[in-house]
Every structure is written in C-alpha cells, then in structure tokens.
C-alpha cells in the first residue's frame, strides 16, 4: 500500500521550493496597514509560507522513510 505521506511530502516539497525560490529571486512585497498604530508593515509573504511548506513536506517524507524502513526490517524478520 502506498504510504500517503509520500505524495503529500513530495507535493509540499515541490511547491515549497517554488515559493521559496520565487520569494528570494522575485520578492513580491505586500503592504499591511496596522490599524492601531497606523504603521505600514511590508511583508514578503511567499518566503515564510514557502519555507514552512518545504519544511512540512520534508517532515512527511522523513516520517514515511523511517516507517518504511521499520516495516522492511519487520517483514524480513517474520517473512511476511
């Protein structure tokens, strides 16, 4: 059975990479006007969002990899 974390991890790594690279190479600044203080905050939203997606994707792939190895050793020991 395909481990569901593999496709999820791969998709998030790919999209996360695209966003992170895009955020660095071609930063898109969004200006947010803070209501209380009236100051303007400039955000490069793609970068933190891309990085967190990349991290999450890597985590999913890592977990799938660890469990996959565990299952393999269990399989070979009791000849499933």
């Amino acid at each position: 059975m395909l481990d569901v974390r593999k496709p999820i991890g791969s998709l998030f790594v790919v999209i996360g990479l695209i966003l992170t690279v895009y955020g660095i190479v071609q930063p898109q600044y969004t200006q947010v006007a803070i209501v209380a203080t009236k100051e303007i905050v400039t955000l490069n939203i793609d970068l933190p969002c891309g990085a967190s997606m990349l991290l999450f994707g890597a985590l999913m792939l890592g977990l799938a990899f660890i469990d996959g190895r565990k299952a393999k050793t269990a399989d070979s020991s009791d000849s499933h």
């Binding site: 395909l2 496709p7 695209i18 006007a33």
Partner: protein, 541 residues
C-alpha cells in the same frame, strides 16, 4: 477594491498545474492496488485512523464550507461558528462512541445496507434512492462553486472550468476508487490549511488580534455566540431553542451520524477502535476550522467595502476568493487558489465515491443484477463514477438557478437527513422498533417536511430568516418521524432478537475490548474534544 486588478502570474499557473498532475498520479499509482470491489468501494479496510480522520472532515470541507462559511461569517458574524461547535462536534462524538460500533461491527458496506439488516428491504431502497439523489445534487454545488471562482479570478469560461474540474475528479476517483479519494482528501486538507491560514494570520496582525477586529466590526453582536441568542433578535434570526434543536440536534446529528458520505471514510478504517477514532480525530481540526473559514468572513466584511451589495462579483459567497485576491501576491495566490480548488474537488469526490457505492451495492446489486462476479461490480463502480460525474455537471447548471446555495442545501437536509436520524436513533437504541414502522416513519417524516415547506412558500408559516425556517422544519420532521415510528411499532411485528445481534443496543455481540494506550481510547478522546468545545463557547459567549 477592484476585482479586475488581480493579476495571476505564470508561477500561480505552474503551482495549479503541478497539483493537478499529482492528483492524477495518485489515482494512477493506486489503480494497480485496486483489484477487488472491496478495494474500490471500501479501500480494503486497511487505512490508519489519522488518515481516515482527516479524510472524514475533508470530504465535508467542500465549497459549502470554504465559500459558504466565509459568506455566513460576513453575514451573521461569529454565530456562524455554531455550525462547528454546536452543529458538528457533539454529533461527531456521539457517532464515534455510540453509533460506530454498530456500523463497523455489523460489517455493512453502506448506510442503506445497515437499514436493510436492521429493518427491511423497502427501508433500504427508500434511503438508497434519496441518498443517491442528494449526493449528485451536492457534488453539482461544488462544480458550480469552483467554476464561479475561476471565472471571477482567472476569467475562465464557466463551461470550460466545469469540464476541467469534472475531468480531474473523474480521472482519480475512477482509477483508484475510495483509496484514491481518501488520499487526495488528506492531501487537500493540508493544502487548505497552508493555503488559507496565512489570511487569518495577516488579518489578525492588521487588526491587532480578536479584540481589535471586534472594534472594527460594524455590529458588536457579530462577536458573540450566545449573548444575543435569548431571543431571535440576533444576526442569525434564530433563538437558542431553535439553534439547539434544529442545528445542534436534528440537522447536525442527521448529517454527521447518518450521511454515508462521511460514514464511508470511517468504514475504511483498519479496525473498530480505528473506526471509532476517525470522527474524534476529525473533531480536533474541526474545532479550529472557524479560524480558516469564519474569520476570513469577518475580515472580508471590514476589508472589502460594499461586500454583499450585489449578487455577482461582490456577493457574500465571493468573500474568500476576493480576500485571496487582495492579500496574496503571485506565488501564494497560486497556493490559495489551489487550496480552494482542492476543497471543491474533495467535496465533489466525496459525494461521487459515496454515490458509486450506494448505487452499485444498494441499487444495482440488490435490484438490477444480483449474482454477478466481483469484477463485474468493480466495473460497475467505475461506470457509476463516470455516470455520477456526468449527472453532477447537469446539477451544476441546476444550482446556478438558486439564489442561496447554503439555504438550499439545508432545505434538502431537512427533507431527508432530519427524519432519517429519528429512524436511526430508534433503530439502534430501541429494539422494539419494527421494520415497517421504520419505513412508514421515514416516509411520514419526509412527507411532513415537504408539506411544511410548501405551506411556508404558501405563507401559512413565516420565519425571520430562511435559515430559521430550515432549522424549525428539521425539528418538526424529526419529531414527526420519531412519533410515527413509535406509534406504528406498537401494532406491527418487531424483528426477532436473534436477527438483531450487533445491530441494536442491548442485543449486541459483546466482544472483549482490546487494551489500548490512553490516547487511542475513543472515550478519552471524546472527553478532551467536548471540554475544548465548551471552553470555546465560553470564551466567545
């Protein structure tokens, strides 16, 4: 706010395209593992509970939720969260603890099949037919919603977007069946979280937290769940009694405890405790969903002037896509759009997989072609998938003619799900309930509901809002079915107890429960879920 100023870049299209490729690839990989009809319709009973749990809420996280709840948030304020904390969590807990042992334990393949085993063939047929009609109507809503967003933001043609969306869902559900649908639902769950959460985070930053947002809202009542629910004089137009009985009891229990669309996900779990954990694991993110759906609605109300002033580009339903457009730069805009697309596709795929199962097992195999090979039913399942999607395209055009999708959906629920919950409650917890009483009770309940609706149109009954009418209609339909079933049971023959083992409270097969770690025990999870819900109700009182 100028809608036409939203610019979609090449990077956004790339992200959407990559997502489409992944979705179809998952279906393709899973096709090799889908060899029997059991694999196709029930995912072979081998999916872990965290996966079925996330699929459980994702199948429900369609257009109605992402667009409808944001729209309601802008219209009714935080009272919309009642759809979660009052209208979902208690029912999900009840399903897990009290009803799932009968569903999973009786080894049924669908909800109508349970009705056949507990009652009789006609009750099953009645339910299977009404359910099949309901699911294709619902999946049409998702297609329509998706097409309208793509038309608004990308300028795509309505017909083209409906066809593209339908073909992708067709590809992956037909290839991999329920497993493919569940896998994509889990993928979609995470996309929705990552794609929509930044909106609420940026919004809270802008207004300085909930308190700051509350100050910016035009009506202070928009920040309260219960404070103004003593009478119907609140944004939603429903008092506490209508809320608790209509939404909190009948509609929510009717949907979460009997709708095969969600139950099917739990039935795919690998064991009975895993099936019981499915709705409970789903409940944790469900409690937090108002942050993803209701909050953006409130933000849209403040940030998009004239929202709701027309029924097209500035309708409440467009609150979420409009926010994406003003908040996200190219890049995240692609992710946000993919998230919305994902929610519509998972909502539609959920309906389609439930439809093909009920059609193949409960209608085709039971009444049309009885003793065929397993391969034949697997083939029929794929044909039914294609058929369901083609009918959905038709219903998508039907939905375009209705003014409010949400009200329309609650109306359909009040016809079918509300009385059905009375049938289930009696069937599972009162062994005296007779098969024919269940059939006639269900018919009388649905009839009462339709009759009540006709009288409302005629003007005999009137309610402060359409939604209030739906809540009260559901309660009345439930009571009618409940009383009729009890009354008819008095003079019809019940099923002998020997036939009720594992189907009814008090005559279930007692199996020794396996000893589980505390965090895997359904009862422990249920207590945590309920406690968290109570706390949120107090905080936003």
């Amino acid at each position: 706010m100028d809608v036409t100023s939203i610019h979609i870049g090449a990077v956004d299209y790339t992200i959407i395209l990559i997502y489409f490729i992944f979705v179809i690839a998952i279906g393709y990989v899973l096709k090799k593992q889908t060899v029997s009809s059991e694999d196709f319709f029930l995912a072979g009973h081998r999916i872990p509970s965290w996966v079925t749990g996330l699929a459980f809420i994702s199948a429900n996280l369609g257009a109605i939720e992402v667009m409808g709840m944001a729209a309601n948030g802008a219209q009714y304020g935080i009272m919309t969260a009642h759809f979660y904390w009052l209208g979902a969590i208690p029912a999900m807990v009840f399903l897990a603890i009290f009803m799932m042992p009968f569903y999973y334990g009786s080894k049924v393949r669908s909800v109508p099949e349970y009705l056949k085993m507990r009652f009789n063939e006609p009750t099953r047929a009645l339910n299977a037919i009404s359910f099949a009609v309901m699911t294709v109507l619902m999946s049409g809503i998702n297609l329509f919603a998706m097409a309208s967003v793509f038309k608004l933001l990308l300028g795509w043609d309505m017909n083209a977007s409906i066809l593209v969306a339908a073909s992708v869902v067709l590809a992956y559900t037909m290839l991999g069946g329920l497993t493919s649908s569940i896998y994509n639902e889990v993928l979609q769950f995470f996309l929705i979280v990552f794609g929509l959460l930044p909106i609420s985070i940026i919004g809270l930053m802008k207004f300085g937290g909930f308190a700051g947002l509350a100050k910016a809202l035009p009506n202070p009542a928009f920040m309260h769940l219960w404070a103004n629910a003593g009478t119907a004089n609140n944004p939603m137009g429903v008092d506490w009694l209508g809320l608790c009985s209509g939404l909190g009891f009948v509609l929510s229990f009717g949907y979460w405890c009997t709708d095969f669309l969600v139950i099917q996900r739990a039935l795919a779990a690998e064991s009975q405790p895993a099936a019981q954990r499915t709705p409970l694991i789903a409940a944790f993110p469900k409690i937090l969903f108002p942050i993803l759906t209701v909050m953006p609605g409130l933000l849209a109300l403040v940030m998009i002037p004239k929202l709701g002033s027309n029924n097209d580009t500035l309708s409440y339903n467009q609150a979420m896509p409009l926010l994406l457009g003003i908040m996200y730069p190219p890049g995240m805009l692609g992710v946000g759009l993919t998230a919305m697309l994902a929610s519509f596709m998972s909502g539609m795929a959920g309906n389609v997989t439930a439809f093909n199962t009920v059609w193949t097992y409960d209608l085709y195999q039971s009444y049309i072609a009885k003793d065929k090979s397993d391969a034949h039913y697997l083939w029929m399942g794929r044909v039914a998938t294609a058929g369901g999607i083609i009918i959905s395209i038709g219903t998508a055009y039907l939905v375009m003619g209705f003014p409010s999708i949400m009200d329309y959906m609650q109306l359909i629920f009040s016809f079918f799900n509300a009385p059905l919950f009375a049938t289930f409650l009696l069937g599972m917890f009162w062994k005296r309930t007779s098969p024919w009483a269940a059939f006639w009770g269900l018919l009388i309940g649905t009839g009462t509901s339709i009759g009540h609706y006709l009288l409302t149109i005629h003007g005999t009954f009137s309610y402060p809002s359409v939604m209030a009418g739906n809540f009260w209609r559901s309660t009345i339909a439930w009571v009618a079915c409940f009383l009729a079933t009890i009354a008819i049971s008095q003079f019809t023959k019940p099923k002998p107890e020997s036939e009720l083992a594992g189907l009814c409270w008090g005559v279930s097969k007692q199996e020794d429960a396996a000893v589980l770690a505390w965090y895997k025990r359904p009862a422990v999870l249920a207590v945590i879920v309920i406690a968290a819900t109570v706390v949120l109700n107090v905080v936003f009182w």
